[in-house]
């Protein structure tokens, strides 16, 4: 049961980058284009830019990131674990027997209590930060679906500039309104400098008349998993 669900999820994730990729000349044009494309009713869109563009989340209608919840979960876990560890190891139960190496080791330091909140604070603080930070980085990667070594977008030579000075808008084939010729024309009408069709088989330039010219091909039979349905 679980396997088809995961299979579908992976399939959806692999397919989210199949569709039309349009290049725009600058961040201002890209924001305008996103607004126009959303007015047309498209929802499965994404933009690619060398830096985060101010106002793009709003233009794309993205809700705020949920990452904070993961981080606070990590932080609370770290804090609780740290107090538990310091109590258990310094003043915890004397189990004995097979568990000798896991019993507590009571150190009497000038008659001070074996466990107290105050001297436990520094380590609790540090572990709170550690687990929060791991949560922030791990959570960010998980929410973004990274690491993701295979991405059909990398077939496009033009797309290499998304990390330099290229600004791209992507409309996924999975979008309900997607229509290869019509969508490409709409993107051009909104100022796209070039439109490409990217699939698991490779990259194609989409000409003004809607015809495709292959510019890059997948190196071997496409690594596309068999459809789960």
């Amino acid at each position: 049961m679980a396997i088809p669900i995961i299979g579908n999820l992976l399939q959806a994730r692999a397919d989210q980058n199949v569709g039309l990729l349009a290049e725009f000349s600058n961040p201002g044009e890209l924001v305008e284009a996103v607004e126009a494309v959303r007015r047309e009713g498209y929802t499965r869109i994404d933009t690619f830019s060398p830096f985060p563009i101010h106002g793009m989340d709003h233009a794309m209608g993205l809700p705020p990131s949920k990452l904070g919840y993961i981080v606070i979960g990590g932080g609370l876990t770290g804090c609780a674990l740290a107090f538990l560890m310091q109590w258990y190891m310094g003043a915890g139960p004397q189990i004995g027997g097979l568990w000798t190496e896991l019993q507590s080791y009571a150190l009497n330091i000038s008659g001070k209590p074996l466990f107290a909140i105050e001297p436990s604070v520094p380590i609790a603080f540090e572990l709170t930060i550690l687990l929060s930070a791991l949560g922030a980085v791990g959570g960010m990667l998980a929410l973004n679906g990274l690491p993701k070594p295979y991405n059909p977008l990398f077939y496009s030579e033009r797309f290499g500039r998304a990390s330099d000075d290229g600004f791209f808008l992507h409309v996924a084939e999975a979008d309900k309104q997607f229509d290869q010729t019509g969508t490409a024309a709409m993107l051009r009408a909104n100022g796209a400098l070039a439109v490409e069709y990217i699939s698991h088989e490779g990259a194609y330039d989409v000409n003004e008349d809607g015809s495709l010219v292959q510019t890059a091909a997948a190196p071997e039979p496409a690594p596309r998993p068999a459809p789960a349905h």
Binding site: S25, M56, P122, A136, V137, D164, D165
Partner: protein
């Protein structure tokens, strides 16, 4: 190149911002910034780098020698002896940890305060932090004597059924410094992700297969998707928020090593804030030393401008003055406490056998930075380079003064002694610089030393509104070549003004 011609995003119009007000100088386009930073890790290694690297490796060799001799013979090879049980190893540990504070301060605290000038220096400063923390960890690791059982400091189950002593500041240090190193590494790597993507795409374009494979691995498939940037920016903000209290806590915990004891001169509540200020002071000085050289050697004057250096100097002035104020406050409190031991400890610092160390510290940390009150001095490269060096000399002596002067005269005059380091103390310290510079040179060679995507983001042309004419708020400029679009926007702004 055709790409550059059709996609030159330049802040072309002179009137948008005055050159002086810009964070990036030289009218650079996005592509220029990419090129300027990344080509240093792509070109053939310059000869000068090999010379510098050879020197650094020589230092690293000394470190290996010093460590081998130390481990073979034990810590008796150092000058540490009763009554000065904590000599150079702890001095050098605090020295390096202190330097390691600037990177996270620049990346986290200045980020939260929206100090956008930090983008030019944060990458190198964070790298410097990591390397300084690595150097710092060397000293306590080997100071334990039996380095092969260093894992006893960690809460691992063992056959002795023994756990670490959680009430000891020394153990807090293990947690604080190692977690600081880990979080700094995470922060640095997250910041590096988009730039590794840039290097990957360039390597693919250049047809360098192995390099592309390595970059593909480390960039984790980063595409610059806005859906990713959204979580990425949140993660970066949260990491900055986490690293800010962390950086303040680390040197506070380091100061607890001293302050929690009952030794006169150490047992003071001023230590945590005073140590943190000193850490920032020395760390900024080290960043200054490295960046002055790196921007000159790598031709990054337009990215790391004199304005950046001047701002750093202001922070050096402020933190140096805080540290100097703390030195004076300690004297006042010693007098005001009425405790003769405390009073003696401080009088002995300034006038006892280590008076020379005390006054080197005072002169370097309190007096010299005061020159930076004068603007022309803040902008003189040779002067700031000199002061960045003297600051670190002064800060090393601060730790020496605190550690040694408080210990060398015990409660019993019969146990008084004068501390002298041995050649092995010296070699280990020089060797730690070898390690530091080896790592830093590798960083300069292989990793983009300026945060490319962040610098692009603070240029005026990164703002979508840059491409709109003022006032009307809607209506994009007609699709034209961007440079024409910019000029049109500029002339419209002129007409309105």
């Amino acid at each position: 190149m055709a790409t550059t011609a059709t996609h030159s995003h330049r802040p072309d119009d002179e009137h948008f911002l005055l050159e002086d007000e810009r964070l990036v100088h030289g009218n650079l386009s996005f592509h220029d910034i990419t090129e300027l930073v990344s080509h240093h890790s792509e070109k053939t290694t310059p000869l000068g780098w090999y010379f510098a690297f050879a020197a650094a490796l020589g230092g690293l060799g000394l470190l290996g020698l010093a460590i081998a001799y130390l481990v073979w013979n034990g810590t008796g090879v150092w000058g540490n002896n009763v009554p000065v049980g904590w000599g150079w190893p702890i001095v050098n540990f605090v020295f390096w940890v202190g330097i390691g504070h600037a990177g996270t301060l620049i990346s986290a605290i200045l980020f939260l305060f929206r100090q956008r000038w930090r983008t030019s220096i944060n990458r190198a400063a964070e790298a410097m932090t990591l390397f300084a923390v690595a150097c710092a960890l060397l000293f306590p690791t080997f100071h334990v004597g039996r380095v092969w059982v260093i894992y006893w400091t960690l809460p691992l189950p063992n056959q002795m059924a023994m756990w670490p002593q959680f009430k000891s500041p020394l153990l807090w240090d293990v947690f604080a410094v190692s977690i600081y190193g880990t979080v700094s590494l995470l922060f640095w790597y997250v910041g590096l992700l988009p730039d590794l993507g840039t290097l990957r795409d360039r390597a693919v374009k250049q047809g360098r297969v192995l390099r592309a494979k390595i970059m593909q691995f480390f960039s984790l498939g980063w595409t610059g998707s806005n859906r990713h940037w959204r979580h990425y920016e949140k993660a970066y903000l949260i990491l900055a928020g986490l690293a800010t209290p962390l950086v303040l806590s680390v040197h506070s915990v380091v100061s607890f090593d001293f302050a929690v004891s009952i030794v006169p001169g150490w047992h003071t509540t001023i230590f945590p804030p005073y140590f943190v200020a000193g850490a920032i002071f020395s760390g900024f000085a080290m960043v200054q030393t490295l960046m002055i050289v790196a921007r000159w050697v790598y031709g990054l004057e337009n990215l790391i401008t004199k304005d950046h250096l001047e701002k750093m100097n202001v922070i050096i002035l402020v933190t140096g003055t805080i540290v100097g104020f703390a030195y004076i406050t300690e004297f006042f409190i010693a007098w005001y406490s009425g405790v003769v031991y405390e009073q003696y400890a401080f009088l002995n610092r300034a006038t006892g056998p280590y008076w020379w160390a005390y006054w080197i510290m005072m002169f370097c940390n309190l007096t010299l930075p005061q020159l930076f009150w004068i603007k022309s001095f803040r902008r003189k490269i040779w002067l700031m380079f000199l002061i960045s060096i003297t600051t670190n000399i002064g800060m090393w002596f601060e730790r020496f003064v605190i550690t040694v002067t408080s210990l060398h005269r015990d409660y019993l005059p019969s146990s008084w002694d004068y501390f002298s380091p041995t050649i092995w103390d010296l070699l280990l310290f020089i060797g730690s610089f070898g390690l530091f510079f080896t790592l830093f040179l590798l960083f300069l060679r292989f990793i983009p030393m300026v945060a490319i995507s962040e610098v692009k983001n603070v240029t005026p042309q990164a703002d979508p509104h840059f491409y709109h004419s003022h006032g009307d708020g809607h209506g994009a400029l007609p699709p034209a070549t961007p440079s024409v679009a910019h000029r049109t926007a500029a002339s419209e702004r002129d007409n309105e003004a």
